[in-house]
């Protein structure tokens, strides 16, 4: 997994920001297919420094107004959190759409909904439709081979039927003559 840190610069024009993402390549022998639950979030970021922010959400004591759930003030909550982490805060924030991929210990589907082979190994739009660079039985095929193959099979069937009918006809003709 690749993780964004709170010190990394983000691009607010490219939303959602991926807070983490799984790494792996289609032709890497040690890569695996793995289920993830992608959590969509909307959270504050430092508008000037263009970084994600650490938030002080929960009050440490009864009158901790810097905590968001006590003071309901984002600027105070962000400033407090960033200071605690030893990081800068420009004072200006905005909200940004984010994604976070949880490995599938969370929201495991019931067994009736487990994936069948056909969800990926299918010629029509399956889950792997957009993955290129790997041959998948059931999903991929050579169009030329398929077309010519079935034409040849059809030709063979027609050929033997015609041949057979010819024999039947000629035999009948012979019997009529004798």
């Amino acid at each position: 997994m690749e993780y964004l840190t709170v010190k990394d610069r983000i691009d607010p024009t490219a939303q959602p920001v991926a807070l983490n993402r799984p790494l792996g390549l289609v032709n890497d022998p040690s890569s695996r297919i793995f289920p993830f639950k992608v959590h969509g979030g909307r959270q504050p970021y430092d508008k000037i420094n263009k970084t994600m922010t650490i938030l002080h959400l929960f009050p440490k004591s009864g009158d901790d107004k810097d905590a968001y759930w006590k003071g309901y003030d984002w600027t105070k909550a962000i400033a407090s959190g960033q200071e605690y982490a030893g990081l800068d805060f420009s004072g200006e924030y905005d909200f940004i759409e984010t994604t976070f991929a949880y490995p599938i210990t969370h929201m495991v589907a019931p067994k009736e909904n487990t994936l069948s082979c056909k969800e990926c190994h299918i010629r029509a739009q399956g889950r792997f439709a957009s993955v290129s660079g790997v041959y998948m039985p059931g999903r991929d095929h050579s169009r030329i081979v398929s077309t010519l193959g079935w034409i040849a099979v059809l030709a063979a069937i027609c050929g033997v039927m015609l041949h057979g009918m010819g024999r039947i006809l000629m035999k009948r003709q012979k019997e009529e003559q004798s």
Partner: protein, 217 residues
């Protein structure tokens, strides 16, 4: 009309092998084309499992066939020849409609006419082993790295395997039809079940048709 005699053409193993292989091939074709996403029949997972088991069984059984073909001298029945090839092709494309008799009737020493010889040899020595080889490699895809076959391309193996499948399907269609060209529609099929074929008695056996060291099995 020549006298009809019964000759014992196909031994027990030969008949067993013929029907076992045809069953394996038919089931492999049905499961194979399902995996190729042509239709739904067994269900993808069942089709894959069936195809794997049948394919590997075929490989093992074929090894017995190869042993038998060489140790019993049966290989002589597959030696290709061009002698009378034209007559045979002419017979099947023209003569058969005229009611002519077969230019190369079956004989114990020569069960296959020249066209059959080249066809069955191409199958037994080339097409079927190629299908088994590509199938085995396809099945072992996840082990290619361990087998030092990294440079192999799955696309290449898969496409050849599919071409082979179409070729075998076409052969099957033509072959089943050709079995009806005996003196009666079912006489050849009956012979492959009982082992006995009814043929016209003939005095002359060509030298090249004889098998010099043919043993009764």
């Amino acid at each position: 009309m020549k006298k009809l005699v019964n000759i014992y053409l196909y031994t027990r193993y030969e008949r067993f092998w013929h029907w076992l292989q045809s069953l394996l091939i038919i089931l492999l074709l049905i499961s194979g084309f399902e995996i190729y996403d042509q239709y739904s029949f067994f269900g993808f997972e069942k089709a894959v499992n069936l195809h794997n088991i049948l394919g590997l069984s075929w490989l093992v059984a074929f090894a017995f066939f190869v042993f038998w073909v060489f140790t019993t001298g049966e290989w002589r029945q597959y030696v290709p020849t061009t002698k009378k090839m034209f007559q045979v092709i002419r017979y099947y494309s023209y003569g058969i409609f005229k009611g002519e008799s077969h230019p190369v009737p079956k004989r114990k020493e020569a069960k296959h006419n020249p066209l059959q010889r080249i066809t069955y040899l191409s199958l037994a020595a080339f097409l079927l082993p190629l299908q088994m080889l590509t199938g085995f490699l396809y099945w072992g895809y996840n082990s290619w790295q361990a087998w030092k076959l990294d440079s192999l391309s799955l696309v290449f193996i898969a496409v050849i395997h599919v071409i082979g499948a179409f070729a075998i399907l076409i052969f099957l269609i033509v072959h089943i039809y050709m079995t009806t060209t005996g003196h009666s529609v079912f006489s050849h099929i009956k012979a492959m079940i009982t082992g006995w074929e009814e043929i016209e008695e003939s005095e002359k056996v060509e030298e090249w048709e004889k098998k010099p060291f043919y043993k009764q099995s």
